[in-house]
């Protein structure tokens, strides 16, 4: 007889059903969540970044995002950074590669779907938000710390770059801790610069109270730059008056990880993507032929990535770990020189524009500039000095825009124009970066409010 033959089938079924159901119920009630739980040790959750102990990490995040957005990165990240992109749209770099996105920037003919533009635009916003999140955390857990001043200034510089590089209309949004989005409204260039000024003023107050000189000078130069961009020359000069000429605030790069590498070095030395220009299309400044010690370049006898164009390396950043000056006492003096010019004080000994410029040159062993006559010539002299002193630090594009906006110059006479140096269609007419198409996911998006 089969061993189960004596059992009644229904009883077997009921017993089995009960057992399995009970076992499954026990399993499901107590441990399904446990079974499905997975660890994720590779990242940090937002909840782990609260409290005073998180402040150094958040501060580091602000610096890291700013570093990538400002000078780019190396390796797999391959971020160009805004110094490079503004140099391409301006007259500091020419493109000698093959990527359409970046050729379009060099050619002043970007479309709104330009991926390079979109990525770097996002990076700048990430730098802005990282700095603001850090500043908010300091305000909550360690108000008045010098570090709070620094991250506020970093936030201020991101607004300065939005104001200098982009057409008016950039909205500033944020994601709330709940994950919801708080969309900003389009802002004019002046409104953007006002946001920067507010950050710098708050940063300056905190730094002065904390007797943190470097943080204070960083805020002063940022404030002066923003005010200059607004055309408020006297206020700009007043803001930077206390900054010593030898002051420098560095954004640091490193060979520690690829993300920390200096993109201005990587894209030129490792990738041969762009070259130092020389009077690009006739309108640009003669960076190479002037042979000025402030514009360091060399001719490696190589061709660019496009396998055709001769390349000239920038030599200002000839190492992957070279730091980049964000703000300096030299810039402070240049602001004062421009304020003097605006006040009609070009030639006054000691405090006039020419005197300030020549004092800076003398300190570097560069021969004095001659006095020139006429507003245009004096402006040209001043802006060329700014271009050379501040070469490849992300200032030139803003200056070119100011020449158009504040000094009434014709854009076609300031920006590279006419036949493009690589052939094909001629240079376009853009003088600033447009707001990328992806920003249309902000319901308040209105595009560029003007040409810039």
């Amino acid at each position: 007889m089969h061993r189960h033959a004596s059992l009644r089938p229904l009883a077997v079924r009921l017993l089995a059903a009960g057992s399995i159901g009970a076992a499954a119920l026990a399993l499901s009630a107590c441990s399904i969540d446990d079974i499905l739980h997975v660890d994720d040790p590779d990242v940090a959750s937002p909840g782990s970044l609260t409290g005073p102990e998180a402040l150094p990490v958040l501060r580091g995040g602000a610096f890291s995002e700013f570093q990538v957005s400002y000078g780019g990165s190396d390796g797999a990240f391959q971020t160009e950074g805004w110094i490079t992109l503004s140099a391409l749209l301006g007259d500091e770099f020419e493109n000698v590669e093959t990527f359409t996105d970046r050729l379009d920037i060099d050619q002043r003919a970007m479309v709104l779907t330009n991926a390079t533009l979109t990525n770097n635009y996002l990076d700048l916003h990430r730098a802005r938000r990282a700095a603001e999140v850090a500043a908010e955390a300091y305000a909550e857990f360690d108000p008045g710390a010098p570090e709070q001043s620094e991250v506020l200034s970093l936030a201020g510089f991101t607004y300065v770059m939005f104001g200098e590089y982009f057409c008016p209309g950039v909205p500033y949004s944020r994601q709330l801790p709940s994950g919801q989005s708080e969309f900003g409204q389009p802002t004019t260039t002046d409104e953007t610069l006002d946001l920067a000024i507010a950050r710098f003023e708050e940063a300056l107050d905190i730094a002065v109270a904390a007797e943190a000189d470097d943080a204070a000078n960083l805020a002063r130069v940022g404030l002066g730059r923003a005010l200059l961009d607004k055309g408020d020359y006297a206020a700009a000069a007043a803001a930077v008056a206390g900054v010593p000429t030898d002051f420098e605030y560095l954004i640091e790069y490193s060979v520690n990880t690829p993300r920390q590498g200096n993109g201005l070095y990587d894209f030129v030395y490792n990738q041969q993507r762009w070259r130092v220009t020389d009077a690009e299309s006739g309108e640009g400044l003669p960076y190479r032929s002037d042979d000025d010690p402030r514009v360091q370049w060399f001719e490696p006898d190589e061709i660019g990535f496009d396998n055709e164009s001769e390349i000239f390396y920038q030599a200002k950043y000839d190492d992957l770990a070279d730091d980049i000056v964000l703000a300096s006492g030299i810039e402070a003096r240049l602001i004062e020189a421009e304020a003097a010019l605006a006040a009609g004080n070009y030639a006054t000994a000691g405090t006039g524009t020419l005197a300030i410029l020549n004092a800076l040159r003398a300190a570097e062993g560069i021969a004095d500039l001659p006095a020139v006559a006429g507003a245009d010539a004096q402006e040209d002299q001043l802006f060329k000095e700014r271009a050379y002193w501040l070469w490849l630090t992300g200032h030139r594009l803003g200056d070119m825009r100011r020449l158009v906006r504040q000094y009434g110059r014709d854009a076609a006479a300031v920006y590279p124009s006419g036949d493009y140096h690589k052939g094909g269609e001629a240079y376009g007419t853009q003088i600033s970066f447009p707001i990328p198409q992806d920003e249309q996911n902000n319901p308040n998006y209105a595009g560029c409010l003007g040409p810039g």
Binding site: V43, A44, G61, T257, Q260, N270
Partner: protein, 1001 residues
């Protein structure tokens, strides 16, 4: 539909069990045995399935055609014997209590796609006639003909309707992209699940999150399914759509490929050995690099003089020098292929075994492109008791692959040639950026794999009506992706090549499976039979790895120990767990009408925290209408089955897609490296799986006494809640995208398979199988407020946009061109380009037709061939677009004799940056395989003390007919990317000539 997970599992299990039919009393068990032979040749038929109709009892025949079914209740039973390629045979047998009975069968060869069995998600085998859906069964070529099939992807190519295998290139070790009934998901993987002997295995591609490689050689990546050894495969079943996949649960939306490896057969040890030797040939004609030279019409100076320059009147053409580095200074060699293997199978009725090992060596058409692979397999099956059957399947692979640099890669060999100079140069030999291949070959990019796949299946039949099945197993993969370039040797201007570097990434992938199920069968009144199943399935996928990188490599070293700067380290830990349960009820009426309903419920670790359990229902009906008494019995229509199925299944979100997180980074502040965080992902706590539902209907028709059969299937599949990577406004300063369940994607199509035994005789036999499919893929909706998702080579050559296929090509159109002054050349102003991008076609084939035929002559010679047509798609020939639009070294823009159309396309690319002229029709016909096998007479084999001896001469990729103007209409520099598809300096497919000797002892 979702409910709290706390009760779902319990409810599923208990309800299913209570749904089981009343059990029949257990009977005194007996056994039935017999032999199955070919009705004409009387040769034993191995691997035929013999089932006791109306029960869960059955067995497979051994190599001698014999079978034994144990634990059979007393009484009169119907037996049914099924084997692919034969008409089913049936017979009655009466068994006394505790006794034995014998039943022999003679099966007639038929093109009978109606018959056979398939393995279902429950782990049980099921007669094909019971299914409402139409899984494809791929018959693995015999061992000799595998000489024409060097990889698993080659084995699947062209052998199943609706299954598209897109090979990405001809590099040894390159993988393929498999799509079954089209792409379902906008953002998640569209790759099928692969199951080997009951357990899921790693089939990750780049877009799936886990990846098949971490090293970038420009484009090509291996496919993990190509780790499978075709030599060890007995059968492949492809379940194509949700209508047949509901019980496979979350993750199965893209289809399931079930692989069954070879099993031992009871009998004396039988040895099979083979040795294969062959050559791998590069057969592409690569284009010349041109440069029109002339004199300036204004200055008289020498200058480049392109067609558009001539049209603009700025130069007079003098000459068009050209150079072809790839042809004149060829980097190619004749590759070689060698494989040696042996297996032995045998055993007793209680224990059978299959042991196999083989070694494979393939050298590609570059001297550095090498694959070394060793496989071993040991499969056992034990009849532990009359009620308990245990099978153990184990497979081990060790491989070493070295890839060349190619595709979208400055250091690539093909780009180095076709983007190179129009003239020779003693150093660079005309290669781009001055890198001749001998310099580039020094970059050593390798992947070493050690992989073990094992499973154990236990089937316990405590009662005649009840069978319990448990399957557990794992797929473990230790992978070492590594790359090295010695410092100071390569002609690179800058680091990392000038310094040398080392990348060493070690990964461990583990896929763990544990399934348990029960099936109960009961004969009901009124000729009804009930089959009830329930079960639980658990799947755990783990991916862990460390990545390390350093530069400035000390001369003479090749490991990270020798690096000195720019270090990078990373660690990855990913895991995904699925827990599911199912129940299924089938009612059969007179074994010719089958109705099945099923429900599967799942929870998954990647679902959002606010989402619980999800259920997938299915319904199937199959009616063997030709067996109805009223159906007219004619030779013309010898069998007919109607079938329909509906089902739903899903695709889980990717790891971490539901989470908001920050990524750790390092930053230097005042000279000190300090920890920091960068903004990571923007999660979505409401994230849930994509849900694909499908209805399919069709028929299987036997004609001319089943000498020809036709299976026709229509399917209509819709994926809802499709995960869309919604682009976040950059002004938020957060992540680029956030995954949300918004989209809807549809796939419709028609599949047909025609099998015919055209001639059947002792001296001459000819059979053919024709697969045909047409399909239509479309994005129905991307979600409110979601703008088209633009991507692809160049940044915007492809997009997901409602109303068009997924990944469709888009570009600003060429509106027209005219040589207004009739000078034979076009100026840029003579070409008109539209302002807005328009649809240019899909990169995925919409029509497939494959002919697989076998001819046997005099029983000693067999010819097999596979030819395939694909069409309806386009391929972005970015190789030529880049040559014209960026490097301007193409023929079209340098030689005034080129056609106006070619000039217009080049001008559109160069002046208007629109590549549409190079989004070309990619229809093709290819002669994929030809194999010629000679079987030695028995007396000749005996001279070598063998029982069988054969020689096969085979070729692969023998001919291509296409209008596509690039190197090959199958290339994809995007490799296994979800959608990115482009021909961009990939190595074209290569040609194989191989010969193989097979000896059986």
């Amino acid at each position: 539909m979702h409910v709290p997970r706390s009760l779902a599992m319990a409810a599923l299990a208990a309800l299913a069990w209570l749904a089981l039919p009343s059990a029949a009393h257990a009977q005194n068990a007996g056994r039935i045995s017999g032999q199955v032979v070919d009705s004409v040749s009387r040769a034993a038929i191995p691997n035929a399935q013999v089932v006791v109709v109306g029960t869960t009892l059955g067995a497979r025949t051994g190599d001698d055609g014999r079978y034994i079914i144990v634990n059979v209740p007393a009484g009169t039973h119907q037996l049914r014997v099924m084997r692919l390629g034969y008409a089913a045979a049936t017979g009655a047998v009466t068994l006394a209590a505790g006794g034995t009975a014998s039943a022999d069968f003679a099966m007639a060869q038929r093109a009978a796609i109606l018959e056979g069995v398939v393995t279902t998600a429950t782990g049980e085998t099921q007669e094909r006639r019971e299914l409402g859906n139409a899984p494809a069964t791929i018959e693995v070529p015999n061992r000799g003909e595998l000489a024409a099939v060097p990889s698993f992807s080659n084995l699947v190519t062209g052998r199943a309707a609706g299954v598209a295998v897109q090979t990405s290139g001809g590099t040894t070790g390159s993988g393929s992209r498999i799509r079954i009934r089209g792409s379902n998901s906008v953002s998640l993987s569209n790759d099928p699940i692969i199951i080997i002997d009951g357990v899921r295995v790693d089939n990750a591609t780049d877009d799936a999150g886990l990846g098949a490689t971490s090293l970038d050689v420009g484009g090509q990546v291996p496919s993990r399914f190509d780790d499978l050894n075709p030599e060890d495969i007995e059968s492949i079943e492809i379940i194509k759509g949700p209508a047949g996949l509901a019980l496979y649960g979350t993750g199965a939306a893209n289809g399931v490929i079930q692989v069954t490896t070879k099993r031992g057969r009871a009998g004396v040890a039988r040895w099979n050995t083979f040795y294969e030797k062959g050559t791998v040939r590069e057969v592409t004609d690569f284009p010349n690099n041109y440069r029109g030279w002339g004199t300036s019409t204004t200055t008289g100076a020498a200058r480049a003089c392109r067609t558009y320059n001539i049209a603009a009147g700025v130069c007079d053409l003098d000459s068009i020098p050209n150079w072809n580095p790839l042809e004149n200074v060829s980097p190619f060699v004749n590759g070689a292929r060698e494989q040696l293997g042996a297996n032995v199978s045998g055993g007793t009725a209680g224990l059978t075994y299959y042991l196999a090992a083989d070694q494979e060596r393939e050298d590609g058409v570059y001297e550095i492109n090498k694959l070394r692979r060793t496989n071993a397999r040991a499969n056992f099956r034990a009849q532990v008791s009359p009620e308990l059957d245990v099978s153990v399947s184990t497979g081990y692979l060790t491989s070493d692959l070295r890839f060349p640099q190619n595709d979208n890669n400055t250091f690539g060999i093909i780009p180095g040639g076709v983007l190179g100079s129009w003239r020779d140069d003693p150093v660079s030999r005309g290669y781009y950026l001055g890198y001749p291949p001998t310099e580039l070959f020094i970059i050593n990019t390798r992947q070493q794999v050690d992989r073990f796949t094992g499973s154990a299946t236990a089937t316990w039949q405590p009662l005649g009506w009840l069978r319990l099945t448990g399957v557990t197993g794992l797929d473990l993969n230790n992978r070492h992706d590594n790359e090295m370039a010695p410092g100071g040797i390569v002609l690179a201007e800058g680091p990392p090549l000038s310094y040398g570097f080392r990348q060493s990434n070690r990964f461990q992938t583990g896929v763990y499976t544990a399934n348990g199920g029960a099936t109960a069968t009961h004969q009901l009144p009124r000729d009804l039979r009930s089959t009830s199943s329930l079960g639980v399935q658990f799947n755990n996928e783990i991916f862990r790895g460390n990545q390390a990188y350093g530069e400035d490599l000390l001369s003479g070293t090749g490991s990270l120990n020798g690096t000195n700067r720019n270090f990078a380290v990373a660690e990855v830990n990913q895991q995904n767990i699925t827990l599911g349960g199912y129940l299924q009820q089938q009612i059969a009426w007179r074994e010719r009408l089958f109705v099945t309903a099923a429900l599967r419920g799942d929870d998954n670790s990647a679902f959002g925290t606010d989402f619980g359990f999800i259920f997938y229902p299915s319904f199937q009906a199959s009616w063997v209408v030709a067996e109805e008494p009223w159906f007219p019995q004619t030779d013309w229509v010898s069998s007919l089955r109607l079938r329909t199925a509906y089902g739903a299944t899903g695709q889980r979100p990717g790891f971490r897609q539901a989470q908001t997180f920050y990524s750790p980074v390092t930053v230097q502040i005042v000279g000190a490296e300090v920890p920091a965080v960068a903004i990571g992902g923007s999660g979505n706590p409401d994230l849930k799986p994509e849900r694909s539902s499908e209805i399919e209907a069709g028929f299987d028709l036997g004609l001319l006494n089943d000498r020809a059969t036709l299976a026709l299937t229509y399917y209509d599949k819709t994926t809802r809640d499709a995960l869309v990577a919604r682009i976040l406004a950059p002004g938020l300063g957060s992540d680029t995208t956030q995954f949300v369940n918004l989209g809807e994607v549809s796939n419709r199509g028609l599949e047909a398979q025609l099998d015919a035994r055209l001639l059947q005789g002792d001296r001459f036999a000819w059979d053919a199988t024709l697969n045909f499919s047409v399909s239509r893929n479309r994005v129905e909706d991307l979600g409110a407020g979601i703008s088209p998702i633009v991507f692809g080579l160049g940044g915007d050559s492809q997009r997901h946009e409602a109303g068009y296929p997924l990944g469709a090509y888009f570009g600003r159109p060429i509106l027209g061109y005219a040589d207004t002054n009739n000078d034979g050349v076009l100026a840029d102003t003579e070409v008109q380009v539209g302002d807005d991008p328009v649809y240019m076609g899909t990169p995925f084939p919409t029509r497939q037709l494959a002919l697989n035929t076998n001819i046997t002559l005099f029983q000693w010679m067999r010819i097999s061939a596979l030819a395939e047509y694909r069409g309806g798609n386009r391929l972005f020939n970015s190789t030529e677009e880049f040559r014209c639009g960026t490097f301007v070294n193409c023929h079209a823009l340098n030689d005034p004799s080129s056609s106006l159309r070619d000039q217009a396309e080049g001008i559109a690319a160069l002046f208007y940056t629109t590549p549409v002229g190079y989004m070309e029709d990619a229809d093709f016909v290819k002669l994929r395989e030809v194999a010629l096998t000679f079987t030695a007479p028995d007396d000749l084999a005996r001279r070598f003390r063998a029982s069988g001896l054969s020689l096969t001469i085979a070729g692969r990729n023998l001919a291509t007919w296409t209008e596509y103007e690039g190197a090959d209409p199958e290339l994809n520099g995007g490799a296994q990317s979800n959608f990115s598809t482009f021909d961009f300096f990939s190595q074209p497919l290569v040609r194989y000539y191989t010969s193989r000797i097979t000896v059986t002892f």
